[in-house]
Symmetry: C2
Subunit: 339 residues, 2 copies
DNA sequence: TTGAAAGCGCTAACAT
DNA sequence: ATGTTAGCGCTTTCAA
């Protein structure tokens, strides 16, 4: 069943059918109706490959997700996938480990799959113009922005929270509850990724509250791996360092931290408070409920798709959306025991 | 940069280049080497649309995942995605709600995207031949099989655990610890899905252990939603029904159950034991660590892809793999308090 | 407003 | 072993 068959079926030429199918104006209404009917009756479905070949453009949008074991990104993928489909495009998903380079992955994917654009779900925030020359289609950074790179603001789009400020807020929350000895749990702080920004927010907040930064209270794990976080917190406890609260830069790390504390005989929040940033569904069901700054995941994913498609269709321009988190008052933060 | 350019670049014909690219035998070694070099030097990437058009087959494999908020399926998707890519195919992911019909979704996708085959991640186990006539490409059911449908064994492939038996094992484990009043937490038991099978295993196990089935101890939730599970268990507790253990048919439901128990002042496992089936990474970090029967997710996903591609390439035939779970001895099961 | 025809880049006969 | 060429199904000039 090709366009030719449809044309023959209702006695017009293929170009007419093509015009109808592509919403071109120059077709008489009755002919248009006849063609549409034929399409329906024949159960005709256009061949995407042929379309893509001749117009040398696909309907593919690349989604590059960095961080395999990050459930927060999984929740974004769900929404992104749905929105892309709803708007008539095709998602090409590529998940890569945290150590891999998302730009290279995207550039490769772009060529292989003739992408119209790319959405990055997590990535570095220090892209250089040079490295992005490989990527010749519009892209949107979702969950981060190019804080430390040399990209022009109108060379890319982003949807993110203000990581530094949010981490700052988290520390504020702890300090407001009387904490001064606050540990921080993060993945590699030098990898130019979200962890680094949130770490900076932590440092800044301490400073503003007149609290000296104590390197002994910084626990660095590899990736978002919970195992590493668990072990890191165990080491922290075993080191004998005094602390009454932990800021984890993600919910999963926080969950591992709570486990470590509990296994070491410390009760959360009585002996140690825990706060995080992300807002996973599942962390609302941990014991105690995790107190965390929730990112508006649904909104972020949806906006990213919308913006990218605007860019692709030429109806939008590069923008940078800064979202706000919402504090979930769980049960993992309390005043420290009087000393 | 087309195949023509590459051909001109190294002074051969397009067909020779095509042959090299498609691993055809009839090419002299030195020519092959020359072409490969040219491809590299020119940075040539074949146009998939043209390929698909002429050979009237894409490289697309459909992955239909039913159950949006199921982290177990997310972990499968990760592996499936990687394997599909590694083997030179393209994944077309389609996630649908638990209420939606995966066969219809797959049939639609097949036509739209010219799928070579489909992997179902979660689905019903009562397909009929009639409804599957829409789906004309090979498919693999991952995490379930066609226990109650009328499909011939060699009309489809499957990779699953024996849900009934595994649920049975879970009950055995509880009984071995001295439990007799065992509640079960599941999504709709009538939806012909995994929940139903596991529920049957539960019933069967009770019977074999000479325990009367008490409908008051069956908690039915909608989908895998944790909220519903939480509320369900709260209602169970408030009903005053006596029970010392809960079998949850998934880890997420179990986590919600533990939360409900804790919030109602019951300690796990001292006052109530909890066991589940799935084996999520994250449930190893709940407090207490969830005791659960772990499905070999990685293996299941990988095998599904392998089998499907064998089918597509004509080198394999329909098979049905039954995997074994591994008990994770967490901390959520203990002997009931002496009464 | 419609139709005829030229390719898009590639594979696979068919020739040589 | 290698080259020539006819399409795959579609969009898009260009003519009518």
């Amino acid at each position: 069943m090709t366009i030719k068959d449809v044309a023959a079926y209702c006695g017009v030429s293929v170009s007419t059918v093509s015009r109808v199918l592509n919403d071109h104006p120059d077709v008489k209404d009755d002919v248009r109706a006849r063609v549409l009917a034929a399409v329906r009756e024949c159960g005709y479905v256009p061949n995407n490959s042929a379309r893509a070949l001749v117009s040398s453009r696909s309907t593919a949008i690349g989604v590059v997700s960095r961080g395999l074991d990050n459930p927060f990104l999984s929740s974004l993928i769900r929404v992104v996938s749905r929105r892309i489909h709803e708007l008539g495009y095709t998602m090409v998903l590529h998940q890569i480990p945290t150590q891999a380079d998302e730009v290279q992955a995207a550039a490769l994917l772009q060529r292989e799959k003739k992408l119209l654009g790319v959405i990055f779900l997590g990535g570095r925030f220090n892209y250089t113009e040079a490295e992005l020359r490989q990527l010749t289609v519009p892209f949107v950074c979702c969950t981060y922005t190019n804080t430390f790179g040399d990209l022009s603001q109108d060379a890319y789009s982003s949807v993110s929270i203000h990581d530094q400020r949010e981490a700052h807020k988290a520390v504020d929350h702890l300090v407001a509850h009387g904490h001064r000895r606050i540990a921080v749990l993060l993945d590699d702080p030098a990898d130019s990724s979200i962890g680094q920004l949130r770490f900076q927010g932590y440092r800044q907040a301490l400073e503003e509250h007149g609290i000296d930064y104590d390197p002994a209270l910084t626990v660095v794990t590899a990736g978002y791996a919970m195992q590493a976080a668990y072990e890191g917190v165990c080491r922290l406890i075993d080191s004998g360092a005094a602390f009454t609260a932990i800021l984890a830069i993600s919910d999963t790390l926080a969950i591992a931290a709570i486990k470590a504390l509990t296994d070491r005989g410390r009760s959360v929040p009585a002996d140690c408070s825990v706060i995080a940033i992300d807002g996973l569904d599942i962390s609302a069901y941990t014991v105690p409920t995790l107190t965390t700054l929730c990112q508006p995941a649904e909104e972020m994913a949806s906006q990213s798709v919308q913006m990218l498609i605007g860019l692709i269709e030429g109806t939008g321009s590069h923008r940078h959306l800064l979202m706000e988190t919402a504090l979930r008052q769980g049960g993992s933060v309390a005043r420290p025991a009087a000393t």
